[in-house]
Symmetry: C2
DNA sequence: CCTACCGATCGGTAGG
DNA sequence: CCTACCGATCGGTAGG
């Protein structure tokens, strides 16, 4: 019998689980910045110090890697939002805490994620990530608005208000929007600290743009 | 001398300027939905009923076509926003008019455009489109907020307000955000008419989420 | 405006 | 985890 060469597999010592973590954190950074299509598997591998086929020992394919990245990230986001929610406080403080968390963690780029879900991913992966996003991001934030409606702080739809989910998507889009404000010669929001930006967004959501007098 | 075969060029009758318009409107639709990278030149050509190399008789390359699409579109947006501005009226009415125009024309996807500018285009095209966006979209909207600050309706930065440009990016992101709210079994904002959605966003920008009582 | 084609790059596989 | 390689697709060109 000929000698069978050593082929690493997930049961060997040299099948390094550390490598999987490196691939995950590297591809997370790249996918979040550039999106699914613009990040090639070779680019991920190179950034990890691997050859491209090596990725396929840890993930079945590119979409599977993208899914794993978002499963991990959305779980983390859920934990952060739950921590904010447990602090309680008034509506504006809760909103400010949510915004601060989203800004500080440089979390999901909602728009880039939606673009990938709509155009780049197969149905099963799309549904999987879409459900995780609704469960782990939208639901916890919407609960804050729903609570304010129950306490008659905000109006419900029948009274001329908007739904908790619509309020949540509005909040998420405002967080994304502040990232695009170009830096100015004079000090501007983009140069503010995360805390100040979060308070400012929360203030606008609850009371609108700062006015001279309540009209 | 051998017979020189007929090669169409821009001076011939069969070099159809109508074709250029078809390419522009077709690629506009595709670029707006899928972004620069995801739209191949072959896909554009096929949608126009042409072969892919035929595109290069009308545009030097893919980026040049992308540029022409946005030059045309941003000019149209400028005209629409100027028309809204000329109507005058109170701040909330102006904002509502802007939002209504942006929603009705299914204009620029700001986030997709920013992604392309940041990651997909050469510096010269990026700067060109970036300048056009600031001149034709940001500036007209920011002027509305600047006017409200001059009239002491909104606070300026020193008084705790935000800059006209920051307010503009916030408005643009809110418009984008409403497009992502999933349709619900119960009637929701996504099912509202453009007019109602525009009024709702304007109300939130000026007065915040609808509350039971001014606190 | 077409056919034919170029080099580069893509996601993924074979096989060890 | 590597080398070697596959078919598909990309933007763009040659030449008529």
């Amino acid at each position: 019998m000929t000698q069978i060469p050593k082929i690493p597999n997930r049961h060997d010592k040299d099948f390094n689980d550390e490598t999987r973590k490196i691939i995950l954190q590297t591809s997370r950074r790249l996918f979040l910045e550039f999106g699914f299509r613009a990040v090639s598997t070779r680019r991920i591998a190179e950034a990890c110090g691997l050859t491209q086929p090596a990725l396929y020992h840890h993930f079945a394919n590119k979409q599977d890697l993208y899914l794993a990245v978002h499963q991990e990230m959305l779980t983390e986001t859920r934990q952060g939002l739950d921590r904010v929610a447990r602090r309680g406080g008034h509506l504006k403080d809760s909103i400010s805490g949510v915004v601060r968390y989203l800004l500080a963690t440089q979390g999901e780029d909602t728009n880039l994620l939606f673009h990938d879900l709509a155009h780049e991913l197969d149905m099963d992966v799309r549904d999987n990530i879409g459900n995780l996003f609704r469960e782990n991001v939208v639901a916890p934030i919407a609960a804050i608005f729903a609570r304010a409606i129950d306490q008659h702080i905000l109006l419900n739809i029948d009274e001329g208000g908007i739904s908790p989910m619509a309020a949540t998507y509005l909040l998420l889009s405002m967080v994304q929007g502040m990232a695009h404000v170009p830096s100015q010669p004079e000090p501007d929001m983009a140069l503010y600290s995360v805390d100040k930006t979060a308070d400012s967004i929360a203030e606008i959501i609850v009371n609108g743009l700062p006015r001279s007098r309540p009209s």
